[in-house]
């Protein structure tokens, strides 16, 4: 297995931008049901800004950490909203977790995944079961770590992460929102997938395809 270098990570961000752009309308519609209908716009804006910010970088000259920090800053400043601080914190924590590495081994990618998830949890102060993106990110990070610890390849570990994210997002249908705007809905949020969890699946799916 070749290690993942800065150029591979940049391709990952390109893949996320494409996947989110394709998913934009569905995410806005999901958000329209229980929020303010702009989640797809914010995510597309954010990862579009990341793609544009990474494009001029000399990938041979910078380490993965610097790439992730640039991605974090550009996402945050393009978006604001809730997803801005959450994904920016995820990417900055991910950057810190792989500091000093010129390329990422399988274990580093798993650590990156864990740190991103912890960043989202810390910034949003959400726990599992509160109908947020954490309901996709946390099971995905756990599944990746468990598969890796059991000796699976990176591709298999990320497959497990993606499957867990999908199940986690689906499970938000049966949750009553406890965080964010939809928490004011109470039981009226039942029966609808959380848009933040849905977009997390799309992001994780693109990570899986480009890193696995």
């Amino acid at each position: 297995m070749t290690a993942i270098d800065t150029a591979r990570l940049k391709h990952m961000f390109d893949a996320i931008a494409v996947a989110i752009e394709a998913d934009k309308d569905r995410l806005c519609q999901l958000d329209g049901v229980i929020g303010d209908a702009d989640h797809g716009i914010a995510m597309a804006l954010g990862f579009g800004a990341v793609r544009d910010a990474l494009e001029p970088l000399d990938l041979a000259a910078i380490e993965p950490t610097a790439l992730l920090n640039t991605a974090a800053k550009s996402f945050l400043n393009a978006v604001g909203a809730s997803s801005g601080p959450l994904y920016a914190t995820a990417l900055m924590r991910g950057a810190a977790a792989i500091k000093g590495k010129a390329a990422l081994a399988d274990a580093d990618v798993i650590a990156l995944f864990q740190a991103m998830t912890q960043g989202i949890k810390d910034r949003g102060k959400a726990e599992i079961g509160e109908k947020t993106m954490i309901d996709a990110w946390q099971p995905a990070a756990q599944a990746a770590a468990t598969a890796h610890a059991a000796g699976k390849s990176l591709a298999e570990s990320l497959d497990a992460a993606f499957a867990a994210a999908e199940r986690g997002a689906e499970a938000t249908k049966d949750m009553i929102a406890a965080k964010g705007r939809s928490s004011r809905l109470g039981e009226r949020s039942l029966g609808h997938i959380d848009p933040g969890a849905a977009s997390a699946v799309t992001v994780i799916g693109a990570m899986k395809s480009s890193l696995g």
């Binding site: 329209g32 303010d36 702009d38 604001g80 909203a81 809730s82 004011r184």
Partner: protein, 335 residues
Amino acid sequence: MQTKKIINDGNRSVDEMLEGILAAHPRHLRSVDGSPRSIVARDGPRPGKVGLVIGGGSGHEPTFLGFVGKGLADAAAIGNVFASPPPDPILECAKAVSGGAGVLFMYGNYAGDVMNFDMAAEMAAMDDIEVRTVLTTDDVASAPRDQRDKRRGVAGNFFIFKAAGAACDRMLSFDECERIARKANGHTFTMGVALSPCSLPQTRRPNFEIGADEMEIGMGIHGEPGIARGKLKTADEITDEMLDRILAEMAPSRGDKVAVLVNSLGSTPLMELYIMNRHVKQRLDDIGVAIHATWVGNYCTSLEMAGASVTLEHLDGELQTMLDHPCDCAMFRAG
């Protein structure tokens, strides 16, 4: 089908609006060099004065930037439509208005705004600017009374920012400005009703569905579902439903004074607002509550949403003084 809007490019709408606002109000407003989403008062910020930075998503005009000016807010950080600004423009606002006496951040209580403003406050602390935050939580419909800190900030921002801005302009201490801001928030109650949706410039699709003969009581200013949906009622019945909830919490005594704001969510015309205001006056007369001042019009909108909100501020001597303190903003003047 897409909604009709007078725009050029949905992704450029906020920046083009800001260009238009600066063109219209050069005497009141400027943007920070290199940070076009940070709008600062020409007159107001000065050494020794607590700085007041407000902000939030676009689409609620004249909230927030219309209330930037001498005697009210010193600066507003502007986000995308219905989305909190990121930390950088908030930080630039704080730097631009800091007079060495501290900076107050005030904005509606939404998860995204809290995260971005908190990040900006952490960054300001590294620049030796002390920041304190007062969230507005006036929307009675958005959480039960015992969970006031979970409520949203809506049109009542107008009264709450006004009180805080006056306290800052009177050169009161950081502690006093913060105390008065919190007190104004605790004394301000809003209820809204929505009749038809709005649409974002980027999607031009209605952001919720509602029957042709329906209304939704308590809907948020971003189209967040409210507390009850039913058949459209008369102006007096709607006003009664709102006031019943507001007055139950405010619990005014005979002889107390209030300030009134009857606000359009965007497309509901003045005629309908004044019909509502007529009944607000009747109801308050009935219980012997005096109206110190009334504002009727577009103060906190939700793009082209149809609907209205009623806000009462329960005044005491101090809050009345703050309300009467003169201010001169691009879109609002008093005193």
